[in-house]
Symmetry: C2
Subunit: 102 residues, 2 copies
DNA sequence: TAAAACACTTTGTAGCGCAAAGTTAATTTT
DNA sequence: AAAATTAACTTTGCGCTACAAAGTGTTTTA
């Protein structure tokens, strides 16, 4: 059978899975963009982004005053984040395949 | 983007996802078989099976004394459980597809 | 220069995953 | 045949985390 213990708990969480999926297609993305696109509350989003940042799956960049007047924090996926996500996706594929051709 | 709110929280949980995957290929299965195959602790397994039973995704059958001397509880996936799981799998496929061909 | 709008942060709580300990019943041992 | 052991679940309790409501500091508008 599939080894479900391999399913990275950092990624296997609705909100973080959606963030990773979003950031995979285009990075970096601003906090506000992620928030509106994924319809997550401020508090919920920041905690998940913090988790992903702590795990070094995403990288945080705070815009300085020179860049723009208002503060703007952006996030992009890191190399190790991409690796972890690819591994995660392989298991998803295995699950789908397994249920189709058991 | 993919609508992650559609991701059924009952299924989107490592242990329950593994149980659903297992029961999809062959039902019914005994408590002990599930436990040893998925390497879950007794307490952990029963709570997840209870959740799935409460949601009517699986059906519980307790063997009567006539069937066997020792008690033996078996679980099989229900029709609505299969439906829910198929819907869940469609989203998994969408995620995989999205990351491959964004 | 108030006050309203942004862009995050912090805080509090409710709920859940998990395993250790408990319960009941059936074998096996003495 | 009584006691001990094994089997098959169940219950209980803790620790963690997702989530939103309230808070903070800055910037723009009236």
């Amino acid at each position: 059978m599939i080894d479900f213990t391999q399913l990275d708990p950092v990624i296997h969480e609705k909100a973080r899975l959606s963030i990773m999926t979003l950031l995979t297609t285009r990075s970096p993305r601003a906090f506000q963009d992620i928030k509106s696109e994924l319809k997550l509350s401020d508090g919920n989003l920041i905690t998940h982004l913090r988790t992903l940042t702590r795990e070094k799956y995403v990288h945080e960049t705070k815009a300085t005053a020179a860049d723009s007047a208002r503060q703007c924090t952006s996030y992009e996926i890191t190399a190790s984040g991409q690796n972890a996500f690819q591994t995660y996706l392989k298991i998803l594929e295995a699950i789908v395949r397994h249920t189709k051709y058991p």
